[in-house]
Amino acid sequence: MGQMMPKIAFLTGRRTMVGSIAGLAVLALAAAGCGNSSNSSSNSNTGATAAHKGGTFTILANSAFGVADPAQNYTLEEWQLLIDTHDGLVGFSKVGGLPGTKIVPDLATAIPTPTNGGKTYVFHIRKGIKFSNGQVLKPSDFVTTFDRQFTVPGPTSFYSSIVGANKCSTKGCDLSKAGGVVANDSAYTLTINLTAPDAELMDQLALPFAYAVPANTSTKLTGNNVPPGTGPYMWKSYNPNTEAVLVRNPYFKVWSNVAQPDGNPNEIVEKYGLQVSAEVTQVENGQAQEVFDGDSIPSDQLTTLNSPQYAGQVHVNTLTADYYMALNTSKPPFNNLMARQAINYAADRSAYVKIYGGPSLAVPACQILPPNFPSYKPFCPYTTGSQTVWSAPNVAKAKQLVKQSGTAGDKVVVNSTNDQVGTALAEQMVSDLKSIGYKASTQLLTASNQYPFIQNSANNKKWDVAYSAWFQDYPAASDFLNVLLGCGTIHKNSDASPNIAEFCNKPINNLITKAEADGSTNPTEAASLWTQVDHMDTQQAPWVDMYNPKQIDFLAKNVHGYQWNPQWYILIDQLWLSK
């Protein structure tokens, strides 16, 4: 599969840098579907009814999402809007709860069965669909879409298994000529040929990178001009300093209520630049409808939101994401397994949870895969008592391991972001390290500098522990276990090397390879292998996993129809406004 850089420190206010960090959604399978949301969230798509249509839905976001070109932008903030303006061959079902993780056909009429040993997919494209500029959708539009994955700088590795992709670069790409993406406009089919079977291809095709744009779209970066799409809305304007405005697409007609239902508000506006505290106040006053769910609400106002008067306006959902401290396995002391396990035993995860906002907003974590994720089976060796749920640090055991490792007294630099949460997490980590005999200090950088800094192996002599976070791209175990801890995702001297710990364990990597190969042919076996990989990684302790976060949606009183999709989070266009 090989997707890269899919991450944001979502609730800590880490914003995306173009082409670098991103955020994406989650699979909190139990969460929304099982009533983990503080408020009832419908699991079925109610669709747009005439009575619900109308009004302007205003979102307030602290900052914009960078360059808007869908081939480059890798942020949840824009993706939450792109799902309302564009479509792919397939998509995640646009409903709340567990069904929202299901892949359904969108611009394709059906999900094809692969042939040629799992390497060829033939999609039949729906007829009669128009882009928001009036152009008719044709299979050849997808050729441009996929070519742009390589000509526009972005995370091209999502689609690097397409035949001919290895010859593409930002200078040019012709997947059609190479036989990777072949369109037949008369038969209305699109054939995708892969170099090797890829069990996650459908997940990757459902991401906004693969959303159809007209064939005549420039193969260069379109900047802040979003090319036309086929969804119920279209981009009227986007100015990163002020606002983005989406209005109804006059050519849109519903072809699949599950993949792309019609939207409710007439206009969706996202405004930028306010402090989050001011955003909360405006939504409390009904001047706007939503505080962008990536903006971290200050602790002060969290307390305010506990008031019964906001009970119907606040929604809390569990995310499939990890907040962790990567341990630098390329140098002492953490090239030593016992040293890594020691800090895992010593880490007071309840303190980290409190820093994030308390047990209502985070759950202590020990293992790599988040709860309720495919292949997840509870496993927590780094605690006292039960080996499945973290309860308390085991400092005695940690001290014993430090002594055995011979690393006591070593200097340890804890790298983190210099925002409130990042700083506090680093300080707690320093305290935990000191409690077991290390001489620890902090190294705090701005979020935009910190993530590239810790990824680049040229800097790995400068830090020992690095704070990071990861949100799933799509619900697949490999998105954590291979992307973050596989040998193949260490890219030397690159700012885009998501295996921050530089952890490479050959036996585990062999299992990863096997699990990926089995994914297409024997999913049950593959799932079991991923579980094994997760537990083996956890025992090797390349990270101190701190917690799995939850997310808050705060909406105005006049907003109804809340649905939380595990992949896209809040479904903005499905909300409706009372008068």
């Binding site: 503080s38 305010t304 939101l305 506990n306 210099n418 707690q428 305290s431 902090t442 400068k462 830090w463």
Partner: protein, 347 residues
Amino acid sequence: MAAIAQQAGTTELRPAIAGRSPWALAWRRLRRNRIALAALGLFVLIVVLSMAAPLYTRDVAHDSNVLYPNLNGKTIVNGKLAPVMQQGGGILKLGESPIGPTWDIHHYFLGADNIGRDVGALLLYGGRASLQIGVTSAVLCCVVATLVALVAGFFGGLTDTILSRLMDVIWAFPVYLLAISIATVLLTKSSGIQIGFLTVSASSLWTPTVIIGFIYVPYVYRPVRGQVLSVVNKEFVEAAIAQGASNVRLIFSEILPNVVSTVIVLLPLMIATTILTEAALSFLSVGVQPPNVSWGTIINNGQALLYTRPWVSLAPGIMIVLTVLSLNVLGDGVRDALDPRAKLRVG
């Protein structure tokens, strides 16, 4: 003749008028300035309180580990044991709030910060760091600027041109931008800063001290160089040259004593400026690094608690205001004392 002798004898019996040095005269003038003395008293009080931080934590708060997070800690509030961090209420129970001021000197007098530390203790330890950095960097800055100004002013010509342009280049950068840039680079050096055989750890208080001292050198250099230029051609200097005095002797024995009053006038004002700069840099997370604290870092920690726990930010803010105010008033007093005709004005 006898009368004259008598008169002369009478004259010799009168007590001689004691000669007073300019420093003594300045001190006398300063002593008469009660506002300046009050400012000095306030500053000394703040220094003493800050120096007493370990006594507070050991004998009053009974917590020797006050600089580290205490998220799971407990304290006594109204005679009952209570958690330092309290979970939000209601159905949702969102957020964790630190306890507010207990007004009990032994138990979180000013409440806790965002990671459960005693704000009172942080205030005192923060004062130590802020004052240490402020005073040291101002002294460092004044010493370096004076030396450079002496060399530039004394030698003149190409030396003066090069040194002055170098200072202009540093001056041309916005102070905070320059400080943030330098700090960001230095903070990523885990091995610390290497100056000859000296190694300064990146998280040491010396890092912001050196940075702040460096960025303000041109601000002191300019007026001191002006003074040097005005002194260098005076008769007493020419006389010393005629006597064969070496350049080093001319600079340090003839010129320096005549420009040092300018530096002394500038010093308290520079300390006030450097304390403010340190607070600003620490507020932006590029100054004092955890687990050390300064008033700026405490204000930063209190940002998200402004509505419910304002004392976390207010207390260090008040301390900064009082310190800077006292130093500015004292600086004015020193200037009036040393330069009663007020030829030198700063700011």
